[in-house]
């Protein structure tokens, strides 16, 4: 069984269970703050895998209902998009 310092919660940003527990010890108990303190959910998948797992960890550690931990504001785009698909290179760009 891996130690908590080796258990990866966020695979994009290498955030471990220990990182989350440390943030909780420092007094951060809502998901928006923990996302920013640890870097959790800020990689290419934008938290699709790790945020629900992290909410479970935070809820257990703080004895809160998962609803009280909150949820992050999902940001567009749903998947990363190339600049060239969005840019208008023909028209006036000034």
């Amino acid at each position: 069984m891996a130690e908590n310092g080796e258990k990866i919660v966020c695979r994009c940003m290498d955030v471990t269970v220990d990182d989350i527990m440390k943030a909780i010890e420092d007094g951060y108990t809502d998901i928006e703050s923990i996302k920013r303190v640890t870097g959790l959910g800020r990689g290419p998948c934008q938290g699709k895998t790790c945020i629900p797992i992290a909410i479970g960890i935070i809820a257990r550690a703080t004895k809160k209902h998962p609803d009280e931990v909150g949820y992050i504001t999902p940001r567009p785009p749903v998947k990363p998009v190339f600049f060239e698909l969005l840019a208008d290179e023909e028209g006036e760009s000034e």
């Binding site: 920013r36 785009p77 840019a87």
Partner: protein, 381 residues
């Protein structure tokens, strides 16, 4: 929670938390900081993290210069890496008029010990080899400008303030402020009342609503500004690149994302912070024109925040004449994060000593009624 405090600070961004930190550092800790959402949830946590000294107006240049000196020491002082990286700011001009403005601003900045330099477009290629200089008339570069991670600054302040014994209340809303006989008496929140004689209004774009509670009208207006971050890349873009021609700015953060935005002159004043596809289209169009290799980079996420804009694009600092215990720390007009270290130090001096090492009188609210205003022109985003 405390039911009385010497000072209540409304707003948990860098303005409020920074002032609390500067006060606590000098032993003034009888403070409650109130934040409606999580710390840094307003403009601080949504901003691009740019730190620039290249302003057009003397006062902003001095505040930014002193703030850069404080940012240079901040990671050590707070015991928290704030992701500060001095890659400079490269300003791109398109027209002869813009080139002349850069020349004049560089002269003023140099006279105030800011090491900015005017350059021909070809010289800018030495700083950003990937730049397409077609259509550019000039550039200006200041190597000591840079970027930092706003949320790491917030974390540094929060962690230190908790250790210093300052009461921090997040997820708490101020409902009203009671005034009697021309003095503040009480701040009423949804978690209880706090007796106090002094309030620091550091609520960013919502400061005007706080001021209304005590009958003070502020000229500030909120404007949405959109911003995005790309996927993480190896470090390759040294400076923050900006242009006053189209209001674009973008830089690479210390963890490898490119973070940037672009202003929209048609954006109406509102509290809307929704993201739009139009923003991504406009931003990417300008960026690939400047840096063609950006075509193959992916947008990872986009969001928006509010600029708290004053009529002269300069902050409102210090007491208001009709209610001296009501101190203002807002109206940063899109450059609050970058000047907050010096601004908060001056506010702490005002609160403890009653005077400041740099005169903040020119930034008092009364300038809008006395007519003594100087416009800051260098605003992007």
């Amino acid at each position: 929670m405390k039911d009385r405090a010497e000072l209540v600070i409304i707003g948990g961004g860098v303005s409020g938390l920074g002032t609390a930190y500067q006060l606590a550092k000098r032993g003034f800790t009888d403070i409650v900081v109130i934040e409606r959402d999580y710390f840094g949830s307003g403009a601080t946590g949504r901003c691009g993290g740019g730190i620039r000294q290249q302003f057009s107006e003397e006062y902003n240049i001095i505040l930014a210069r002193e703030s850069v000196r404080m940012f240079e020491k901040m990671s050590d002082e707070l015991g928290q890496d704030i992701g500060f990286r001095q890659g400079g700011y490269l300003i791109l001009a398109h027209t002869e008029k813009e080139a002349e403005d850069l020349r004049r601003n560089v002269r003023l900045q140099n006279s105030l010990d800011v090491p900015s330099m005017y350059m021909e477009p070809e010289e800018a290629l030495e700083i950003v080899p990937e730049l397409n200089i077609e259509g550019l008339s000039a550039a200006a570069y200041c190597p000591t400008d840079g970027v930092a991670q706003p949320f790491l600054v917030i974390k540094g302040y929060v962690d230190n303030l908790r250790k210093m014994g300052v009461e921090l209340m997040d997820h708490t809303e101020v409902l009203d402020i009671k005034v009697e006989n021309g003095e503040i008496r009480k701040v009423i929140t949804d978690k209880g009342d706090i007796e106090t004689r002094m309030v620091l209004n550091a609520a960013g774009a919502w400061s005007r609503n706080i001021a209304k509670m005590v009958g003070v009208e502020l000229p500030n207006k909120p404007y949405r500004h959109e911003i995005m971050a790309t996927e993480h890349m190896k470090p390759w873009l040294k400076p923050m690149v900006i242009s006053f021609h189209n209001g674009v700015y973008f830089s690479q953060s210390h963890d490898g994302e490119i973070v940037g935005g672009i202003g929209d002159p048609n954006e109406p004043s509102s509290y809307n912070i929704k993201s739009s596809l139009e923003f991504l289209e406009r931003f990417t169009s300008v960026v690939v024109r400047y840096i063609p290799i950006m075509r193959k980079v992916k947008v990872m996420r986009q969001w928006a925040g509010l600029y708290d804009v004053t009529p002269d694009a300069r902050p409102i600092l210090g007491p208001v004449d009709e209610l001296p215990g009501f101190i203002q720390a807002h109206g940063y007009s899109g450059h609050g994060f970058m000047i907050h270290p010096m601004v908060t130090k001056l506010l702490a001096e005002y609160i403890i000593d009653g005077k400041t090492s740099i005169d903040i009188e020119p930034l008092n609210l009364r300038r809008y009624t006395s007519g003594e205003t100087i416009q800051e022109k260098n605003v992007v985003g």
